[in-house]
Amino acid sequence: MLLALLALILAMGGVMLLQKALVPKFGLDLAGGTTVTLSPVTQSGGATPSQESLDLAVNIIRDRVNGSGISDAEVAKAGDNIVISVPGAGQEEVVKLVGTTAELRFRQVLAVAAANATPGKLPTAPATPAPSGGSTPAPSGSAQPSTTAKPTATAKPAPSGTPAGRALSSALTAPTPAPSASATGDAKDAKDKATPEPSGSAAPSASASAPPAQEDPMAGVDLSGVDPAVAEQFKTLDCTKKDRGQGVQDNPDKQLAACSDDGVAKYILDKAAVKGTEVAGANSGVDSTTGEWIVQVNFKSKGASEFAKITGQITSAPQPRNQLAMVLDGVVISAPVIEEPIPGGQARISGSFTQKTADDLANQLKYGALPLKFVQSSIEEVSSTLGADQLRGGLLAGAIGLVLVVLYSLLYYRGLGLVAVASLAIATIVTYEAVVILGHNANFRLSLPHIIGLIVSIGITADSFIVYFERMRDEMKEGRRSLRVAVEVAWVRARRTILIADAVMFIAAVVLYFLAVGGVAGFAFAMGLTTLIDILVVFLFTKPFVAMLAKLSFFAKGHKLSGLDAERMGREAPVARTTVSQEG
């Protein structure tokens, strides 16, 4: 038993050493930083947001935060809320990042280029750009790099199937979203028609298009419709960077330069043709005839007519202007080619989807239908000095508390108190190790509520010993039992009490953890953790240790300092009597 515990402690210590992690990770109330809690504003319908849309919102926000270059930030779902913790940052920058609502829009693609085709990179690109660019001014210039650079970009993503290539590939292999309207028959037709084409036209959507676009004089012409300012943005946009414009609050009435969500391509997009809120629903499924994964989108009535209009307008446009991009939170999530006008408000997107990529896209579209609006229900910025103060205070309080408990145990239980102290020490070590390991592997951050929870549970841990010791002394008091027997008999009974009592604490911790918000959850976690550690220590250390001690004559014979002396046991020992009267 003792060995098992020792092995555990050493193993955990070993893990800590291996990971070079000797200090716990601290929460922001101790380390300093900003925590923003976002609560979804429920739409007039009053329905609580679905878990999927929350997850998606978390992903969107995480993408924004990561894109901003803030390191070590954490975006997590807590019940219906989203908690964003950013160490070391002030509230302004964090609020700026997360304060806006992610929206979905459908926009016609005006131009496409490879992700990193920025002017700066032009020289490295094949020679072509410069000459052709010469004919047309700035806008065309921006188009050129795209064409030349494309091949490089395409190479990787295009090969269908990779999630990265999803948006593109959906257009590539099956520029089918068109399959006009709902009619599956039609759809099939369209698809059949489509498939041959894509190989050729595949280019447009992503990048594969290099040759056609390059040769196509239309490209330059098309770009003429582009707002010069947007073209300028497009030129400098580098989608290979982390910050590729996600979270930009796009104005639906203006053109937009945006990246694909996998960062492979960049687009110039026209004004929003259909807003995401016009999406009635979206779901993924398998096409019964082809066996391919597809995504179906339904529009509300206004959206349906808008969608019919835009698809009618662009279907006959040259590449890449026959693509309709879906933009979520400033990032193009898919840009399929429109094969034909789609009236009726029902469209399907097919392409080399996997189940996951199809699900993802459907969820994103659904999210667009009901964008989650959030209010910043709580913002907390803790300065690093206050954090350090609080940490110091917490540790100091813990130390004082521990010392008081140790002193009390020694005074009251004397020799046995040593066992209690040793057990507390072991529990402290195990707890510390657990906190460190959890911190580095499960991203558990020690915060003030945790520390208080841990300190408070010193009491729980100590109580287990008290229950056990009192039982033991009861047995001893009988006078008929030797210490060695008493240790065992008392254990059987104390064990039950300890387990039931710990179970109650554990239930409390679990309920609080799952139902409460904010600091309460952290506190509950600490309480649950220490309850488990308490059981571990009592079973693996305290009991075996006491059993071992029972073999020592110091305890077995009831030495005055052992805590098991005759006086304490209330036996009618004359010696004890005198002591009583002296002290009394």
Partner: protein, 359 residues
């Protein structure tokens, strides 16, 4: 002095016999009074909710030498904040205002930075939207209800429903009284306070569970020929675990007192103080209730069972017949007795009683 000393000695030895259960009326009166006062406090005074529940903004920064309450207030008000309260928390200023928008917060922060030369990132800020507190409160109440149900189920399984009921009633008792103390004293209620309240639940039950476990063990062997009523047995069990209850409570309260001390002296206001204060108050109330509320209530419920009524009746008539006898048989034996068979055990208790009688 000598009397105190001997009580301490007897406590140390576990030789105490306080008739907790028998003084049922006293406790009911006391608890009833406390409950009435508490509820009255909640109605009349209400709880002093912190800004976390009302919504608002808090700025907190190290006190620059040049600053006074007035200069801080005028600076913050000058930046467009209303309902400004400036508090001194040891070496920091803590300024609360109405709920500001993110931009307004920046304005105030800049004003403070400019006026007092405190770097913007050294100003701690907290902005609580007006709906957040309601959310926190709602979750806490849901948590509480679910917890109670879970506990009732668990204790019903582990013990019996009467014990579960008694434990939960004691728990509500603790919560209401703690809330009452908060209402009357005007201590601020923050989410940290609620953490404390919720933890009290755990403790209050924890204590009751240990006592009930002993009661269950002691009373399990009360047969029809028992020499003790349920009341006496329960009282024995209670006295039996008294040392443990007191020890445990003391050991639990010590660290909490340490947090309270640090929290008050070092920070003045904040999580540490709020939480530990709630715990401190709650634990004291909790210890009282597990001794004087939970068990008497349980006994009251159990004595209504025909089985125990019969024992009580028989013993009562015996008693009047023999007219002497030490009513509450002293506590220690039942525990051990439980291992032996029923009749033997009660005999055991009876034998032991005279021996312990000297005080």
């Amino acid at each position: 002095m000598s009397r105190i000393g001997s009580i301490g000695r007897r406590l140390y030895r576990g030789e105490v016999d306080i008739d907790f259960v028998g003084r049922y009326k006293l406790w009911s009166l006391l608890s009833g009074l406390l409950l009435v006062i508490s509820i009255a406090g909640l109605i009349v005074q209400g709880l002093n909710l912190g800004i976390e529940f009302r919504g608002g903004s808090v700025f907190s920064f190290d006190k620059p030498r040049s600053s006074t309450i007035e200069t801080v207030r005028s600076t913050v008000e000058g930046a467009g904040a209303h309902q400004v309260t400036v508090q001194e928390a040891s070496n920091r200023w803590r300024v609360t205002t109405q709920s500001l928008t993110a931009e307004e917060v920046t304005t105030v922060q800049n004003a403070i930075s400019k006026e007092f030369g405190v770097a913007g990132n050294q100003i701690s800020k907290q902005i609580i939207g007006p709906t957040w507190g309601g959310e926190v409160l709602r979750k806490a109440v849901i948590g509480l209800v679910v917890f109670m149900i879970a506990i009732i189920l668990y204790l019903t399984m582990a013990f019996e429903w009467k014990m579960a009921l008694a434990a939960v009633v004691a728990l509500l008792h603790d919560l209401i009284i703690t809330a009452g103390i908060y209402a009357w004293s005007g201590f601020e209620v923050t989410p940290a306070t609620m953490l404390g309240f919720l933890t009290i639940l755990g403790y209050s039950l924890y204590d009751a569970v240990v006592v009930f476990d002993m009661i269950k063990e002691v009373t399990a062997k009360l047969g029809t020929t028992a020499k003790m009523t349920y009341t006496q047995a329960a009282n024995n069990a209670l006295n039996h675990t008294l040392i443990r209850s007191l020890n445990t409570s003391l050991v639990a309260i010590l660290p909490v007192a340490a947090i309270l001390f640090i929290g008050t002296t070092l920070f003045g206001a904040g999580t540490l103080k709020d939480l530990s204060l709630a715990l401190f108050v709650g634990m004291i109330v909790g210890t009282y209730s597990s001794l004087c509320v939970a068990t008497p209530l349980l006994v009251n419920l159990k004595e209504r069972e025909p089985k125990y009524m019969a024992i009580a009746k028989r013993l009562a008539s015996n008693k009047s017949a023999s007219a002497q006898d030490a009513p509450p048989a002293k506590g220690k034996e039942p525990a051990t007795a439980a291992t032996s068979t029923g009749p033997a055990s009660s005999a055991n208790g009876a034998v032991a009683a005279p021996k312990r009688k000297k005080r």
